[in-house]
Symmetry: C2
Subunit: 160 residues, 2 copies
């Protein structure tokens, strides 16, 4: 492995770690358990999980991979706060979406060359030539974003 | 900048982002506000802040930079759960420690060469030759760890 490949592989190991922790935190929860709030008056677990899934789905257009796989998640979990809509999908649906999205992303992440990792993300195309506005930075940011909400979800997780 | 330097600079931008968000979340809180729990029966804000500071301090030995700057934080915020000791330091003390530790780390991070970033961390010295067990991976992991607890701290932050 070249040094560049080691640095990318290191970052992917941390993405993978948090993806695994996310799966462990959410996948075994029942539909009633997903209705729990992380703290009084705060987001439900279902919303956090849907939010993380919708944010991961938005990586497809942001990283110019392709269109979103589950564009219907956006209004439920991204552009509106929790409980602002009258209907939400089930946890089973979020689980299916999460699995398909993360599987497809992981596949792409493992195929990109160093040069592809350093390409600017979509919104940065016309930016001021800052070389850190690249796909790699976005994935590092999203890893931290997963960790941010995972820390909250853990607070409401039932003891088993 | 070489590609390697861009990848490292990208990671540092995310570390810096979460460090800044941490400062914004904690530095303006009063001592009584730091006694709030992030959720009923969970860690106090003081503990989270001290914990994050103690973990950052432990990077000095882990990344073979040198000894810890505030070894007294360990028993209060790392090796024991919240409220298990009868005495805790003040928020003012954690603030001073946090500032000194993060300033010193940032200084080191900006001086390391690519080769220094790829050195194994202390505990990995005798590991199985996996090249991702390096300082870079540790800093990415700690960035996500900052985000994890920041997400919790935000739940208890007073509205201003």
């Amino acid at each position: 492995m070249t040094n560049e490949e080691i640095l990318i592989r290191s970052a992917l190991s941390v993405w993978r770690l948090y993806e695994t922790r996310l799966i462990r935190a959410f996948h075994s929860l029942s539909e009633p358990e997903l209705q729990r709030e992380v703290a009084p008056g705060r987001n439900r677990l279902l919303y956090l999980w849907g939010h993380l899934t919708a944010v991961s789905d938005s990586l497809f257009p942001l990283l110019t991979i392709g269109p979103k796989l589950y564009p219907d998640l956006e209004s439920m979990f991204l552009s509106n706060p929790d409980r602002s809509l009258s209907n939400y999908c089930t946890g089973a649906y979020v689980k299916e979406a999460s699995e398909r999205i993360h599987h497809a992303l992981w596949d792409v992440f493992n195929r990109w060359t160093v040069r592809e990792w350093l390409e600017p993300y979509a919104a940065a195309k016309h930016a001021n030539g800052d070389p850190t506005r690249n796909r790699f930075t976005v994935v590092l940011n999203r890893t931290a974003h997963m960790a941010y909400h995972l820390g909250q979800a853990i607070l409401a997780k039932p003891d088993r």
